[in-house]
Symmetry: C2
Subunit: 350 residues, 2 copies
C-alpha cells in the first residue's frame, strides 16, 4: 500500500493483508498493484489489470461491504428491448442528474455471462439502485440485491403486475382500446390484430383492449384476423403477408408494437397495397422512427422517458429508505394520429 492511497489501504486492510497478498503472489505483482486494480485506480497496465482481475474472480474475492455505493443508477436491459433504450435512459438521466448520479447502461445477453454474471458485476460496483427493464430478476437475484441494500425497481416487467418489487408500467389495455376505437371511428370493421407474445402480460393487455373496443362497438372479431408473434419486424412481415393474402383481407391492422407495424408496411409495399389508402395501420410504442416511416405511423405512445423518470424516482426513494406509494405506477398511453390511418374507402373507388 502506498501512503498516497489511503482509501485502497483501508479497503485492503479490512479484508486482511493475507488475501490481497495471496492475490498479488498468484498474479506476480505487488500488493499495491492489486489494491489499484481493486479500486479501479490508474497506473496499472491493461494486461496486468486483466490478469489480476481474472485471479480475483478465480479466488472469489469480494470487496468489503464498508465501501460506499458507486454514484450510479444502473439500468439493465434485455437485448431485445434495446430499441426502446434511449428514451428510457433519457428519463432516468433527467432524475439522476438532479443528484449528480451517473446512469449506467447494461445489456443482459442471456441470464448468465461467460465469467461473471450481470448480477456479480452489479454487486461488485454497488450502485445506488438498479432498474430492470422488461426483465424481472429471479427471486434469488432479488434476494442478493436486497442483501447488499441495493434497491430494485422494474420497468414494465413481463410478469404479474402485482409483485414484491416496485414497478412502473404503461396503460396497455387503454392503449389497445384507443387504437381500435380510432379504426372503428374511421369506418373499419374488418380489423386485424397482430399481437405480441402471448406469455407477455403487456401484450395480453393490448389484445384485451382491442377485443373490448370491438365488443363495445358490436363488431365481431374474426379469429383468422387475430395473430400473435414476437415483437420483431419479421413477424409483422409474415403476418402481414398472410393477412393480405386472405380472400377477405382486413382493411386495417392494429399491431401491438411499432416493429410489427413496420413489418406490415413492408408486406403491404411488396403486395402493391398502399398505406393508408388500401390498408390502415396502427402501431404501439411510438419509437423515434415512427414519425420517419413512410407514411408516418399512427401509433399508441408509451411515455418511455416519463416511465424511466418514474422508475428513477422510485429507486432513489427506496435508496433513501422510503417505501414508494403506490407500489405500482401505470402511466397513461396516448394515441398519436399521423398518416398511416384513413377513413375506409369504398373499394370500387380505390
Amino acid at each position: 500500500m502506498t501512503p498516497s492511497d489511503p482509501a485502497g489501504e483501508r479497503r485492503g486492510r479490512k479484508r486482511g493483508e493475507t488475501t490481497v497478498g495471496i492475490i498479488a503472489r498468484l498474479a506476480g505483482v505487488s500488493a499495491p498493484t492489486v489494491s489499484k486494480v481493486l479500486n479501479g485506480r490508474p497506473g496499472v497496465a491493461l494486461d496486468t489489470r486483466r490478469r489480476v482481475e481474472a485471479i480475483l474472480q478465480e479466488q472469489g474475492y469480494r470487496r468489503p461491504d464498508a465501501i460506499g455505493p458507486a454514484p450510479v443508477l444502473e439500468v439493465v436491459f434485455h437485448a431485445l428491448e434495446s430499441h426502446l433504450a434511449i428514451e428510457i435512459m433519457r428519463g432516468v438521466e433527467g432524475v439522476a442528474r438532479g443528484q449528480s448520479l451517473a446512469v449506467g447502461f447494461t445489456e443482459m445477453r442471456g441470464r448468465e455471462e461467460p465469467g461473471r454474471s450481470w448480477l456479480e458485476q452489479v454487486l461488485s460496483r454497488r450502485p445506488v439502485g438498479v432498474i430492470a427493464v422488461y426483465s424481472e430478476p429471479a427471486a434469488t437475484e432479488q434476494a442478493r440485491l436486497a442483501a447488499s441494500s441495493i434497491p430494485l425497481v422494474t420497468l414494465d416487467p413481463t410478469g404479474e403486475p402485482l409483485h414484491d418489487v416496485p414497478s412502473v408500467g404503461a396503460a396497455n389495455w387503454s392503449g389497445g382500446v384507443a387504437a381500435t376505437r380510432h379504426l372503428l371511428d374511421l369506418g373499419h370493421r374488418r380489423i386485424a390484430m397482430v399481437g405480441g407474445p402471448t406469455g407477455f402480460l403487456a401484450a395480453r393487455a393490448r389484445l384485451d383492449g382491442f377485443r373490448a373496443a370491438m365488443d363495445a362497438a358490436g363488431v365481431p372479431v374474426d379469429p383468422r384476423l387475430v395473430r400473435d408473434g414476437r415483437f420483431f419486424f419479421e413477424d409483422g412481415l409474415r403476418h402481414g403477408r398472410d393477412l393480405l393474402a386472405l380472400d377477405a383481407p382486413p382493411t386495417a391492422v392494429f399491431c401491438a408494437d411499432d416493429l410489427l407495424a413496420f413489418g406490415v408496411y413492408e408486406a403491404a409495399r411488396a403486395a402493391g397495397r398502399r398505406v393508408p389508402e388500401d390498408l390502415s395501420v396502427v402501431g404501439f410504442d411510438d419509437l423515434e422512427f415512427a414519425r420517419w416511416s413512410g407514411p408516418a405511423l399512427t401509433t399508441v405512445r408509451q411515455p418511455l422517458a416519463e416511465m424511466g423518470a418514474a422508475a428513477g424516482e422510485m429507486v432513489l426513494a427506496l435508496a433513501a429508505g422510503i417505501t414508494p406509494t403506490p407500489h405500482r405506477v401505470e402511466l397513461a398511453t396516448t394515441l398519436v394520429i399521423r398518416d398511416s390511418t384513413a377513413r375506409l374507402q369504398d373499394r370500387r373507388n380505390s
Copy 2:
C-alpha cells in the same frame, strides 16, 4: 458521523468538520446526514437529500480528491446523435464489463446545464474515463478533466482529426467512394449527393469521397445535384422534393446520413416515385432501422459498436497510464447492399 460510516467520516474530516458543519447548519440537518448525501448513501429522505445537494452546490463544496474513482466509464453524447447511441454504448460496454465497470450514459443538452454543468457532474463522480461522442470538449474542459486525472477520448469528433485528445473515427472518405462507385457500377450518371453540415469534417470527407469516385469515372458532377443539410430527416425530405422537381432529376441519390435517406424516401413516396425502380438511394451509418425501412436501405455501415469498443480500450489504456498508439484510429466502413439501389432502367420501360 456514525461509527458505521468510516469512509464518510474520513472523507468529511479530510475537508474539515467545519465545512460539513456549515452545510449541515444551513440545511437544518445533522452532519452525518450531510455525509450520507455526499457519499450517496441511503437513509436520507429525497427532499432532504435535494436540499442538502442544493446547498452543497451553492457553497461550491468539493469532495476531497483522495476518494478513488467510481467504477464507471462515462459516455457523453450530444442530443442530436442519440439515435447512434445504443450501438456505441454496446461497444463500450463489451470492453467495460471485462473490467467490471459500468458504462454511464450522459446526454449534453447544450454546453451548460441549469445548476451544474455536465463537467461538474463528471468531476464530482470521478469516473475511470470519459468518452465524448461527436463532441470535442472545449480546451478548458479538457484541462479540468486532465487536472483530475480523468482520461478523455473522443469518438468521431467534429473538429480536426489530428489533435491532442486521442480519438476514434470511421473511414468516411472511403465510404463515400464505395457508395458512389456502387451507383456508378449500376449505370447511374445523374447522381445527387445530399451531404451533411459543411463545417462537420466527417460530412466533408463523405462529400470528397463522392467527388473522387465521380472524377475517377470521368462523370461530371452537376452542382445543382449537390446539397448540404443537417443530419435530419426533414432536410432529406426538403432536398429530395427539390431534386425530384428538377427538369432533369437525378436517378440516384447518395445521402451522407441514413436519416437524410429516409427523408428522400418520403419525398419519393409523396411524388409517386418508386425506390429503387425510379430512384436509387444510398445512406450512411447503417442505423438499426435501415434494414426495416421500405425498401431495406443500401447504406455505408459505420462500425459504431467497434468504434465504441476501440474508444473504450483507448480510455482504459490511458487510465492505466499507457499512451495509446496510434493516437487516432479510423475503422473501416463497409457498403451494405440491400434493396434501395437498382440498375439504371431505360426510362421508356419504367
